[in-house]
C-alpha cells in the first residue's frame, strides 16, 4: 500500500510509473555464472556498511591509528566483527571480481557492443585492489607499514618524477607525517566514490545494453527471467548468501591480526612478510625481478622499477585492450549478444590459462621464503624455479589448456550429434526391430 502511494506520488510529478513497470518487467538471462558479478557487488555493499561504521572509531593519524584499532577491536564484539568482516569482504570482493572477469573473458562476453563495460570492469579491479591496499595499510602496523615502505620504493623508482610521486603520497620523506591521513582520505573518500561511479556506469550499461546469454538468438531477443518477483528473489538470495559468507569467515577465521604485529617503526619488520593475496603477485614479481640497476643518461633506474611498475602497467594494458586484441585475432567485429562456450574457442582458453598461470606463479613466489623453509631447499633455488616457470610454465599450461579445450569440444560435439539422431523402429519379419530414418515411410 505504502509502495503504491509512493509510486503514485512520483508518477504524478515525473510520469515515472511507466519506467518503474519497465524495470520490474525487464528480463535477465539466467545462468549460475552470471551471479559472480553480483557476489562482487554485494561484497562492496558489505564493505560500505562495515566501512562507514569503522570511520566512527578509527583515528587517522600516525600517532593514533594503531592504538585506536586495538582499542575498538578489544572493546566490543561488534568492533572486532566489523573489522574482521570488512577485511574478509575486501579480499572476497577482489576475488569475486577476478573470477567474474574470468567468466566474461572465457565466454567472450566482452565483444561488441560491450567493450566499454569490460574496460569499466578492469578499472574496477584496479581501483578495488588499490582500495584494499590502502585500507590494509591504515592500522599502521608492522606488516602493512613494511608494505607501504615497499610501495614508497616502487613510486620512488619511477624515472624523473619518482621522488615527486613518493612525496605526494607521503607528504615529505618516509614515513611522512601525512602518510596515514593521505591514505585515509584516499581509502574512505576518493576510491570508494570512484568505485561507486564505475559500478553505476558498469551496471547501467548492463541494464541498457541488456545481458548476454547462452541461448541462440536468431530472433534477436533476450531469453530469461522477469525481474519481479523471480529475479528479485534470486538476487536477494545472493545478497544474503554473500553477507553470510563474509560474516561466517569474519566470525571464525582471524584475518590480519595486527595486535600480534605491533605498531609500525621503519626499523622493525615481521618474518615472514607477505601481503594480502591480491597484492602478492606484485610482491612475488619484486622477489623474482633481476638485480640490475641500469643507468639512463647517468641517472639510476632502480631494480624495483621493472617488476614493480613496468610489469603491472603492461599487464593492465594487455587486459584493458583485450576486446580489441581479440577482434584483431578473430578478425570479427560483429555484435556478440550470444556467449561462446569456452571450449568453442580453445585458443582463448589457452591465452586465459597462460595469464592465470603467470599470476599464480608470481603469487606463489611471494611466499618462496616460507616454502623454502617448509621444503628444506634454498630460497634461491625456488627463485630460479619460479623465474623459469613464469614464462615457460605459463606457455606450457596455456598450450595444454588449449589442447584439452579442443578435445573436450570435439567430444561434446560428437556426443551431441549422437544424441540428436532420431530413428523410427519398425518390426521386421524375424520379430526383431530395424531402425529407419523417420521420414522414409
Amino acid at each position: 500500500m505504502i509502495l503504491r502511494r509512493v509510486d503514485r506520488f512520483f508518477d504524478e510529478r515525473l510520469g515515472s510509473d511507466a519506467w518503474v513497470r519497465y524495470v520490474f518487467a525487464k528480463l535477465y538471462p539466467d545462468h549460475w555464472s552470471f551471479y559472480l558479478g553480483e557476489f562482487a557487488l554485494y561484497c562492496f555493499v558489505m564493505l560500505v556498511a562495515t566501512g562507514v561504521w569503522l570511520t566512527f572509531v578509527f583515528q587517522p593519524s600516525h600517532a593514533g591509528a594503531f592504538a585506536s584499532v586495538i582499542a575498538f577491536t578489544r572493546a566490543t564484539p561488534v568492533g572486532y566483527l566489523m573489522r574482521q568482516v570488512h577485511h574478509w569482504s575486501a579480499v572476497a570482493f577482489i576475488a569475486a571480481i577476478v573470477v567474474h572477469l574470468g567468466r566474461v573473458f572465457f565466454t567472450a562476453a566482452f565483444r561488441k557492443p560491450r567493450e566499454i563495460t569490460w574496460v569499466l570492469g578492469v578499472l574496477l579491479l584496479v581501483t578495488a585492489s588499490v582500495t584494499g591496499f590502502t585500507g590494509y595499510s591504515l592500522p599502521d602496523d608492522t606488516l602493512s607499514g613494511t608494505g607501504l615502505r615497499i610501495a614508497d620504493a616502487v613510486l620512488l623508482s619511477i624515472p624523473f618524477i619518482g621522488g615527486w610521486a613518493a612525496d605526494l603520497l607521503n607528504g615529505g620523506g618516509y614515513p611522512g607525517p601525512l602518510l596515514i591521513p593521505h591514505l585515509y582520505v584516499i581509502h574512505v573518500y576518493f576510491l570508494p566514490v570512484t568505485i561507486g561511479a564505475l559500478l553505476a556506469l558498469h551496471l547501467g550499461l548492463v541494464f541498457y545494453q541488456k545481458h548476454t546469454q547462452f541461448e541462440p538468438d536468431p530472433a534477436h531477443v533476450v531469453v530469461g527471467r522477469r525481474f519481479w518477483p523471480d529475479y528479485t528473489l534470486r538476487t536477494l538470495a545472493v545478497f544474503f548468501a554473500t553477507a553470510g559468507v563474509v560474516t561466517l569467515l569474519g566470525a571464525l577465521i582471524e584475518i590480519n591480526p595486527v595486535e600480534n604485529y605491533g605498531p609500525y617503526h621503519d626499523w622493525l619488520v615481521t618474518n615472514p612478510a607477505a601481503p594480502d593475496w591480491y597484492a602478492a603477485w606484485l610482491d612475488g614479481a619484486l622477489r623474482l625481478g633481476p638485480a640490475v640497476e641500469w643507468r639512463i643518461f647517468g641517472h639510476p633506474v632502480p631494480a624495483v622499477f621493472w617488476p614493480g611498475m613496468v610489469l603491472p602497467t603492461l599487464a593492465f594494458l594487455l587486459v584493458v585492450a583485450w576486446p580489441w586484441i581479440d577482434k584483431t585475432i578473430t578478425k570479427r567485429d560483429e555484435v556478440g549478444d550470444v556467449l561462446v562456450p569456452p571450449t568453442a574457442a580453445p585458443w582463448r582458453v589457452g591465452v586465459g590459462a597462460a595469464l592465470v598461470t603467470a599470476g599464480v606463479v608470481l603469487t606463489l613466489a611471494a611466499s618462496d621464503d616460507q616454502q623454502a623453509v617448509g621444503a628444506h631447499v634454498r630460497v634461491t633455488a625456488l627463485v630460479t624455479l619460479y623465474r623459469i616457470l613464469f614464462p615457460f610454465g605459463s606457455i606450457a599450461v596455456g598450450l595444454i589448456a588449449a589442447l584439452l579445450a579442443a578435445e573436450l569440444h570435439a567430444f561434446r560435439a560428437g556426443r551431441g550429434a549422437e544424441r540428436e539422431r532420431v530413428v523410427e523402429l519398425v518390426r521386421n519379419a524375424e520379430g526383431g526391430f530395424d531402425a529407419r530414418e523417420p521420414h522414409s515411410t
Binding site: P77, D167, V223, R225, V269
Partner: protein, 262 residues
C-alpha cells in the same frame, strides 16, 4: 520452507543483536549473524524456486549500431573559425596552468640524509649508549644516534665480529672498532629493515625480498634483488669509551631513485 527459513533468520538476527549488546562471545555473535543471513538467503532462494517461473520469457533487444539523429541546423555546424580554434589553445593553457598546483604538492624535500652526525653516540632503541665490549662476539643490535631514537632512515645494525675477520678496503679499516661494525638497516632494494643476521655465514638477510648482504665484504649484495651495498657507518670511540659515529653515511640510505647522486 521459505517462511520457516525467514523465521529462523528473524530469530537469529535478534539473537545476534542481543548477544552483541550483552558483549557475548564474538564467535556466538558472528555465528548468529551469519546464520541469519544464510537463513534469509535460503528463504529468498526457496521462494524463487517455488515460483516455478519460466526462464524462457523473451523480449526484443535494442537495435544495434549508430543512431540516426535528425540533421542539426546549419548554423550549429557552420560556426567554426579562428575564434573556435582559439578555445582549444585556451583549454590547453588552463590545463598547463593547472599542472603547477599538482607539481607543487610533491616539492617537499626528499632524502635529507639521516640523523647521524660526527660524535653522535650509538644508543639502543631504549636509549642506552654502547661500549665496544657491550655486544658479545657474534651479537647484533639496532642502534640510533643518541637523542634521535626512531629517526626516519637512521636505524643502524651494530654487529660484533671477531677482531680482524672483516675484509674491508684500506679506506674503511678504521671504521671498525674492536670488531664492532655498523651498517644501515634500511634495505637498498625496497627499504625494508634488513633484520636478520645469519651469524654462521656472516650474512644479513632481508625478510621482504630475500636479498642477502655479505657482512665481511662491506655488506655487498650477494643474492636476491638488491643491487647496492648497505651503506656503512664509520665508527669511532669518544673520550668516555663509547661507540660514536664519525659522521653521516657517505652514501644515500635506502631505496634508490632517479635523482640519487653518488
Amino acid at each position: 520452507m521459505s517462511a520457516a527459513a525467514l523465521l529462523v533468520a528473524i530469530l537469529a538476527a535478534l539473537g545476534a543483536a542481543v548477544a552483541a549488546a550483552l558483549h557475548g562471545p564474538v564467535v556466538l555473535v558472528g555465528l548468529l549473524a551469519a546464520l541469519s543471513a544464510f537463513a534469509a538467503a535460503v528463504a529468498a532462494g526457496a521462494a524463487a524456486v517455488q515460483l516455478r517461473a519460466p526462464n524462457t520469457l523473451t523480449e526484443p533487444r535494442h537495435p544495434q549500431g549508430p543512431s540516426a539523429p535528425p540533421p542539426l541546423p546549419d548554423d550549429v555546424l557552420a560556426r567554426r573559425g579562428a575564434f573556435g580554434r582559439l578555445w582549444w589553445i585556451a583549454f590547453a593553457a588552463f590545463a598547463l596552468a593547472g599542472l603547477e598546483p599538482l607539481i607543487s604538492l610533491g616539492r617537499m624535500p626528499r632524502r635529507n640524509g639521516t640523523a647521524w652526525r660526527g660524535g653522535a653516540r650509538l644508543v639502543t632503541p631504549q636509549g642506552t649508549p654502547l661500549r665496544p665490549d657491550d655486544l658479545a662476539v657474534g651479537g647484533v643490535t639496532t642502534v640510533f644516534p643518541e637523542g634521535r631514537v626512531d629517526a626516519p632512515e637512521s636505524a643502524v645494525l651494530l654487529l660484533r665480529l671477531q677482531d680482524g675477520v672483516m675484509q674491508l678496503g684500506p679506506e674503511r679499516r678504521d671504521w671498525v672498532q674492536q670488531g664492532n661494525v655498523a651498517f644501515s638497516k634500511i634495505c637498498t632494494h625496497a627499504g625494508c629493515p634488513v633484520a636478520i643476521f645469519r651469524h654462521l655465514t656472516y650474512e644479513l638477510y632481508c625478510p621482504c625480498h630475500q636479498s642477502v648482504f655479505d657482512v665481511l665484504h662491506g655488506a655487498q649484495p650477494v643474492s636476491g634483488p638488491a643491487t647496492r651495498a648497505l651503506p656503512q657507518l664509520a665508527l669511532d670511540l669518544d673520550r668516555d669509551g663509547y661507540l660514536v659515529a664519525r659522521g653521516d653515511f657517505a652514501e644515500p640510505v635506502g631505496p634508490d631513485s632517479w635523482w640519487r647522486t653518488l
